[in-house]
Amino acid sequence: MKKDLMEILACPVCKGGLELRADVEDGDEVVAGTLVCGACNESYPIEDTIPNLLPPELRRELG
């Protein structure tokens, strides 16, 4: 995901703002990292440039 996508992402559970913790970057692209909700503290992975923002319960069910 591009870093400016942060402007339009929100926590799927509480709709709070997310904080980006990038582990692998390629220019303005985040390849791997974590998005953490500042409101409810839930975290979401970024893998292969795609942020996985499925609600945690569904993320676990779908594996």
Partner: protein
């Protein structure tokens, strides 16, 4: 509800993931078919290019629209209409595609909104997202992003889109009220929603009710009055329903789609 909601979700992910995987594996074959050196003159032509999946898209999209799109995005499409054709997208608009799949509608929308606009594809299936990203890289489009998320719990802030499009996806959801209330929330005031979807032709509903038929977009099809009622309860106004007039099913599938058809549904969030 004849079938379990989580069973539907799991099956949708499995089947559409398999569809994306098949296209990813077929990609070299499709690409070969698209070397036009033999003067076949086609842009995306099933007879020329092999995979029968392309035929499906050719019933729904104009040749001009498909020209220039990666064959993989066309082959992965499993829509029942052509929502960007009616969305009247303008340069600079912010577009959200619900259930973006291989990305075909996102790419068409991206061409219409231009560099000052932005298109976001939301999908829950990892293999489809992988395919969409590959297609995007091939096209070199920079105004499209793909996000893995659920239509019923969108990872997006409120009032952040001008237009929502979706192609044959809401019928897959076992909780359409949640999809519509989330759509209403993320649309900016005055924003519009343009859905291509499968609806039932009569109050009796679809002829089938099993989980597999949900995944095929048949069993989850609702009578238009029920569907419109859900949109209205979510807050939408100026709701219109029109027949799509396109047979999106293959010959062998007709029985599954008894008493259903493709429709275009449009509505607006009050400004």
């Amino acid at each position: 509800m004849p079938v379990d909601n989580s069973e539907i979700k799991e099956l949708v992910r499995e089947r559409y993931g398999a569809r994306a995987q098949r296209v990813i594996e077929l990609a070299p074959v499709v690409a070969e078919g698209h070397e036009h050196g033999d003067g076949c003159g086609c842009s995306v032509d099933a007879a020329c290019c092999g995979p029968a999946d392309l035929e499906h898209a050719m019933r729904l999209y104009s040749e001009g629209q498909l020209a220039g799109l990666p064959a993989e995005s066309v082959a992965a499409s499993a829509g029942c209409g052509n929502p960007t054709a009616l969305a009247g997208l303008r340069p600079g608009e912010r577009v959200l595609d619900l259930g973006s799949g291989g990305g075909i509608d996102c790419f068409l929308a991206a061409q219409q909104v231009g560099d000052s606009g932005r298109v976001t594809g939301l999908d829950m299936t990892p293999a489809m997202l992988e395919l969409a990203r590959k297609n995007q890289a091939n096209l070199g489009l920079t105004n499209v992003e793909f996000v893995q998320g659920e239509l019923e719990a969108m990872p997006l802030p409120g009032d952040s889109f001008d237009v929502i499009i979706s192609n044959c996806v809401v019928c897959l959801s076992p909780d359409k009220d949640a999809v519509f209330s989330e759509s209403f929330r993320v649309l900016a005031p005055g924003g519009r929603i343009h859905l291509s979807d499968v609806l039932a032709l009569t109050r009796e509903g679809p002829a089938v009710a099993d989980a597999e038929s949900w995944v095929a977009c048949a069993a989850g099809a609702e009578y238009h009055e029920v569907y419109v009622g859900r949109l209205r309860r979510a807050g939408f106004e100026d709701i219109e329903v029109k027949g799509e007039g396109v047979e999106f099913w293959d010959d062998g599938e007709k029985g599954t789609y008894t008493n259903t058809a493709g429709f275009k549904v449009t509505a607006r969030k009050p400004g």
